[in-house]
Symmetry: C2
Subunit: 369 residues, 2 copies
């Protein structure tokens, strides 16, 4: 047994948790840069709650609300410029993965002068303190040391990882997710589920990350019935999804992802298929190939099925199919290109079962061929 | 759902984990105060491994090896004096709960001038950094913000709690526990199990502490067969017990304990019965009374039984009876005094089921009457 476990983020979950725990924010500094997308933080109430908590603390803030989906390097630098121009000394990120990840990089740039071309190669050890308020239940970025930005030079998304960008606080208030559409709710739930499941299949998995992954899988799978009804789920389900997504984030903070994510990225990059949906499209066939190749007696797939509360991967396939609806289909020649592209990702080597390019192609063909 | 989860200690587990992770120690300071009991750290190899790691880092150290069982306030002050006299800037604790708890208080005293009579009432926010090396698998102190000292004035044991004394690092190398006798191994395992189970019955339990508690219970109960054989367990079992004890520590770091601990303290205080054994003596009957009173449909006892892998509390009783051997017995009049004493403990109110003094007496009488 080997463990190297580190999860320094304080996680607070519950209705009105930002305001009731505003004393935590009070310790972070004098003036916050609030980082968000253009609209959602206003619409879901997280911005108003944050400003109210800061005002009650006597803290001031400046709003940087220009984070787009799949944020760019320029965006992170722009946020960092706002920090120095406005004299902010801590950061509060409101949103899905995009604002949280842009905020993390801005937190690094505020304390470290790095030119843009050197960003992805730089080694960082310090950052401004960050509080994260997830407003989707998918990314888990509120408890990870990673930030993922669009890398225009390499024409892909690239991850920056350092313990310095673990948020100090994660405030999880499921009311901010109530307005998410059924489709976004399903896609983000599948994304979170793929984090937990891939985490159990990572070479970096340990007993404690597996325990958290089983918890996450069990909680998220317990919401599938409600998600399959096509209606927006109630606050109880929303809260469980947010909790499941956070625990999955604690898993990938240690394990990283494996093959589903780089495979899904090719679909997102080339066809703009939503990240969670892209993962969902190939998820079950990925597990089937792992099941076929798992010869070491470690029984990981049975452990995953047990956490899912399911008897077989065929059952899992049927559940996902119901949630995803009509699937996209692609020609083999196209999928060959994506398999080749995904095979180059370093995450692939992170999987306990060695997957070759031909395995990835097989997964693609069976899923969306 | 409400969560307030904070676990800032980095946990490293594995053979030779101190030396292989000596870079972590390297960041803590220039000179360590090593805190231990008189003999065990020398005998189990933890002292030699620690000194070797420090020397490889170019760090110096001073050994304070005068911590006794159930350490006193004087002992913690003596260790703090050694810190200032020797110019130490961080602390490494080697041992069971006693050296770890004494080290934690010394870490507070090194940065805060507090007279002895004011110690238990003082509010602390700063401490020297601590690395903890547990050499028993019971206390979980390596991942808690608590230190428990003998309070000679109040004639009991009193806890000091502040996030400042969360160890920065916990190094878990099960080789240091190989020399523990079968009886000590059983007693400490039961202590750890009672942390996890009491944590699930605490009013402060949350989804994530329950997930960690189920993991701990499942892992420790999985070792009961080996423990019942009367032989010293092998390294594989030792490692699982150490992991189970650590995860139980993560639970009580959030939940505290409930009724078993204060009831057990009366037996330890009055009859010098080992702490883990004292808990074990009353553990099953405590759960039976909870089962009887649990009317809110929360099904906590079934969840605990499921984690234990057992069908009923009678089965749990039988397993504990086998591990504990012949039980101590006491007159009702004596037990009435202990019930009255335990009923005053604040932990009692921490239990999800309200237990009156008569309930505690009932538990005592059925267990050891």
């Amino acid at each position: 047994m080997n463990i190297n476990y580190f999860m320094p983020t304080r996680v607070v979950l519950g209705a009105d948790c930002i305001f009731s725990n505003r004393a935590f924010l009070g310790g972070l500094g004098k003036k916050a840069l609030i980082v968000s997308g253009k609209n959602s933080a206003r619409a879901n109430g997280s911005l108003a709650d944050t400003v109210k908590a800061l005002e009650a603390n006597g803290q001031s803030s400046f709003l940087y609300d220009r984070v787009m989906s799949n944020p760019t390097v320029d965006c992170a630098y722009e946020a960092a410029d706002a920090i120095s121009r406005e004299g902010c000394d801590f950061i509060i990120a409101l949103g899905g993965g995009s604002p949280m990840d842009a905020a993390k990089v801005a937190a690094l740039l505020a304390l470290n002068r790095v030119e843009k071309p050197a960003l992805f190669g730089a080694a960082f050890t310090t950052a401004l303190p960050i509080a994260a308020v997830p407003t989707t239940a998918g990314t888990g970025s509120e408890v990870t040391p990673y930030a993922i930005l669009t890398n225009d030079v390499a024409r892909t998304k690239t991850s920056i990882g350092t313990p310095a960008i673990f948020p100090r606080y994660a405030f999880l208030d499921a009311r901010y997710t109530l307005g998410l559409s059924p489709a976004i709710t399903i896609n983000t739930a599948i994304d979170a589920l793929s984090h937990a499941v891939e985490g159990m299949l990572s070479v970096k998995a340990s007993a404690i990350t597996n325990a958290l992954a089983r918890e996450s899988i069990s909680v998220i799978a317990g919401c599938f019935g409600a998600l399959g009804e096509g209606r927006a789920p109630d606050i109880g389900i929303r809260e469980r999804l947010l909790y499941g997504s956070m625990t999955a984030g604690m898993v990938i903070a240690h394990t990283g992802t494996t093959a589903v994510h780089p495979m899904g990225y090719t679909l997102t990059y080339n066809h703009n298929i939503d990240h969670g949906r892209a993962n969902g499209l190939i998820f079950a066939e990925f597990l089937k190939i792992i099941e076929k190749k798992e010869k070491d007696g470690s029984r990981r797939i049975p452990a995953i099925l047990s956490a899912l509360g399911m008897k077989s991967l065929d059952e899992f396939t049927a559940v996902l199919d119901r949630l995803l609806g009509k699937k996209e289909r692609f020609e083999t020649a196209v999928l060959e290109g994506y398999a080749a592209q995904a095979a180059k990702a370093k995450n692939i080597a992170n999987c306990v079962i060695r997957l070759e390019e031909e395995d990835l192609l097989e997964i693609f063909k069976r899923s969306i061929g």
